[in-house]
């Protein structure tokens, strides 16, 4: 069974973007970062760049096979300017992007940046990050080939 997931599609699009990939390699995570000695989460002085994406909400339109997915993206950097630059690279992936069909056959009508853009420090590690909200209007059924 192929999972038609706007979140999975967002992760795939971030990983496929050359600017994002150049900075974080494969460290684009759904829901939570990885821990452990070589994980994403490191103490001050050893910070790594990584991106976390997840759902804020994904209501379906009544009577239609369409979902309005609101996703958060947190882009962690080694400094505030670094986090801001990574965040902007992530936002560019989804800003005013039109119709496309994923390899999973998920149809995406449109994606856009609809909120966020602010910077903060993580309360547990003090690592700088920027966050944004993107909206992805997608299908809930596979698009025929």
């Amino acid at each position: 069974m192929t999972l038609l997931s706007p979140l999975a599609q967002a992760i795939a699009e971030l990983l496929a973007d050359t600017a994002v990939k150049a900075k974080v390699a494969d460290r684009v995570r759904p829901i939570e970062p990885t821990g452990g000695t070589n994980g994403d989460v490191q103490p001050p002085g050893s910070w790594k760049r990584f991106v976390v994406a997840g759902y804020l909400d994904a209501p379906e339109r009544p009577g239609l096979p369409v979902v309005d997915a609101a996703l958060f993206i947190r882009a962690y950097g080694t400094s505030f300017p670094d986090a801001e630059a990574l965040l902007e690279d992530c936002r560019a992936v989804f800003r005013r992007k039109g119709p496309r069909v994923a390899t999973s056959r998920l149809g995406v009508y449109r994606s856009d940046v609809t909120g966020g853009g602010a910077l903060d420090k993580d309360p547990d590690t003090a690592q700088p990050y920027g966050y944004t909200v993107i909206t992805m209007i997608a299908t809930t059924a596979a698009v025929p080939a």
């Binding site: 829901i31 939570e32 970062p33 997840g54 804020l56 909400d57 609101a70 947190r74 547990d124």
Partner: protein, 169 residues
């Protein structure tokens, strides 16, 4: 404890006509319902709040309504002004429009909504908005109707004229 409207709000509301006032009333009612929904689903963060020396998030919610860039209504302990909660969301008032914002003044509310490295996101405000917005007409239409029924004829004429782009006599 709820406070009455400030003098600034009273003056701002006096400058509006019946339709704009009705719209503001409806938006305030809708925002209040959304806020109550968000509070009901907000994570319990009393321990973390005490650790950080701030009020629990549930107690910091507020609603803010403005028309033509001027505040005309709000409730909650400290309605989110155009500071952290609304500015960070990209909120901008639009001339000639009515706007409503709901937010939480707690400095740790966005950590609950968006998550941290150690705690996964537990969105409660975005889902509350998504549940509440489709029912906007249930709040706005009765409020506008009430104001129109109470408005004197001269004010109705002026308001409708403004709506239609026709100068009243």
């Amino acid at each position: 404890m709820a406070k009455g409207p400030t003098k600034r709000v009273v003056m701002n509301r006096a400058a509006l006509d019946a339709m704009a006032l009705g719209l503001a009333d409806g938006l305030l009612a809708m925002g209040t319902a959304i806020l109550e929904d968000a509070v009901a689903h907000a994570p319990h963060d009393e321990e973390k709040a005490a650790e950080r020396g701030v009020a629990p998030m549930r107690e910091t919610g507020g609603v803010y309504v403005e028309v033509n860039g001027r505040k005309v209504g709000g409730n909650g302990n400290k309605p989110p002004s155009r500071t952290r909660s609304t500015r960070m969301g990209g909120y901008r008032s639009v001339k000639g429009a009515a706007s409503m914002a709901v937010g939480f003044g707690s400095p740790i509310a966005h950590f609950a909504e968006l998550g941290t490295v150690k705690e996964n996101a537990r969105p409660f405000l975005t889902p509350a908005f998504d549940r509440g917005l489709p029912g906007a007409s249930d709040f706005v239409l009765p409020a506008v109707g009430k104001r129109l029924r109470e408005a004197p004829p001269s004010e109705l004429e002026r308001g409708l004229g403004a709506l239609l782009g026709v100068k009243s006599r």
